[in-house]
Amino acid sequence: MDALVDNLDLILEAFWTTIQLTVVAAIAALILGTVLGTMRVSPIPPLRWLGAAYVEIIRNTPLTLVFFFMVFVAPQVDILVEFKTSAYVALSVYTAAFVCEAVRSGINSVSTGQAEAARAIGMTFSQSIGTVILPQAMRTIVPPLINIFVALTKNSSVAAGFFVTELFGQGRTLAIENPSEGMWFLAGVAFFYLVITIPAGIAAGHLERKVAIAR
């Protein structure tokens, strides 16, 4: 346990890297995923196909493979970025597919009658989207979005395999350096993950129940 306390600053620093990876990738994935989700419900066929192809391919690709592509394959076509940037890109590209699906199913969960009613009382397209459809869609989108970001927090650990010293990577290094204290380091690292994942998971479940009752 002493070794854990002694190295707490290293672990906290790595925890900060994990938070950075998660927050930046979450914002990028949210933007990219919303654009893709909008494309998937748009009336223009090529955009729908592009969105669908993206989701189908990325959802069936392991995250490790996306990382592998960014770190080892992309430099072959002269896309050279720092390892941390690769991690940002890999995590955002991967998470965006799941955000896209959440957005799309959220919009589809609003019943057609709502949009028809909005048009029947003479609302324009943007009015009906802004005041009738999106607010209802948001209710169903938020809980799965939180779950996606919880998964993203855990997924950021994959960066450890690709030269980024984040929480898991730091824990692994310390555990290998001090084999007798290994369990303490793992427990410490686990604690920091749980600090994020458990409260967020509870919040998602809570929101989901709230939305479910309102239906």
């Binding site: 090529p46 002269d78 239906r215």
Partner: protein, 287 residues
């Protein structure tokens, strides 16, 4: 194609959609062209290294890698379903001494990265094989997720199912096993199958804990063939590996959505129709 957002288009909207389609199509083609140009500029398109894909040894190695991936996934899937069932049974038990530890276990392990759970066995024992570590990590994590899936399936059942079981004199455990679990599995089958895709994808984390699976094979092959073909050889080998992953996972995903469609049809016909999904407006299957 019916959508919440727009009506059946009239002539003007159809023209706008056509124009949008053409622009969208052009942008798509341009992006594709840009990617191809990038590839040919870096000597990857016309590179002789694509020849490696005609070598049977490459496919033998990739096949072995895929087999290692599937072996870990299959064993972990079976163990995870067993663990999930046990955790669900314990968590639903009225005895607090059983339900609380099960709930804590599920919540804790669900909140940790799979990679951490794969690495933990190495810390506990230095003699453990990477295969065992990968299977342990996958089982612990996915067992907890499956427990959650099964539990929400059981909770979603009409309460009469359990009451009927108890009324004909079955014990609570027998009711769970013979009446509630089979129905929960049926409702949740598509979700369970999608979880197997997640599990299969996560075997690729074995790359990080030195398990010789498909992705590790890609890297080993690159190292081996780059002496004769140069570093460009990575691209064809990676491409082959990625296609294998995507094809295998898409097949399983297709099974999941097929099961979901089949389940929906059955549920619609079922006499005990729970008030299922709000398909108001009759927008069937907007997927």
């Amino acid at each position: 194609m019916s959508s919440v957002l727009y009506d059946i288009p009239g002539p003007r909207a159809r023209r706008r959609i056509l124009i949008g389609s053409i622009i969208g199509g052009l942008v798509l083609v341009a992006l594709l062209g840009l990617a191809l140009k990038r590839l040919s500029d870096n000597g990857i398109l016309g590179s002789p290294s694509w020849e490696v894909l005609t070598y049977p040894e490459i496919w033998e190695s990739l096949g072995r890698g895929l087999l290692a991936t599937l072996r870990a996934a299959a064993l972990a899937a079976v163990l995870a379903v067993l663990l999930g069932a046990v955790l669900t049974a314990l968590r639903l038990s009225p005895t607090r001494w059983l339900s609380w530890p099960a709930a804590t276990f599920t919540e804790l392990f669900r909140g940790l990265p799979v990679l951490l759970l794969m690495f933990a066995p190495f810390v506990i024992s230095t003699t453990i094989s990477p295969f065992t570590a990968v299977v342990i990590g996958l089982t612990l994590y996915n067992g907890c997720i499956i427990a959650e899936i099964l539990r929400s399936g059981v909770v979603a059942l009409p309460s009469g199912q359990r009451e009927a079981g108890l009324a004909i004199g079955l014990t609570p455990v027998a009711t769970l096993r013979a009446i509630e679990f089979p129905q929960a599995v049926r409702i949740m089958l598509p979700t369970l199958v999608s979880q197997i895709v997640v599990l299969l994808k996560d075997t690729s984390l074995g790359y990080i804990v030195t398990y010789e699976e498909l992705l590790t094979t890609v890297k080993t092959l690159r190292n081996f063939y780059s002496t004769s073909f140069g570093s460009e050889v990575l691209f064809p080998i990676f491409f082959a590996g990625a296609v294998i992953y995507i094809l295998v996972n898409m097949t399983i995903s297709q099974v999941a959505s097929w099961l979901a469609r089949r389940g929906n049809k059955k549920a619609a016909r079922a006499p005990l129709g729970r008030e299922d999904r709000p398909t108001a407006g009759g927008v069937g299957g907007a997927a």
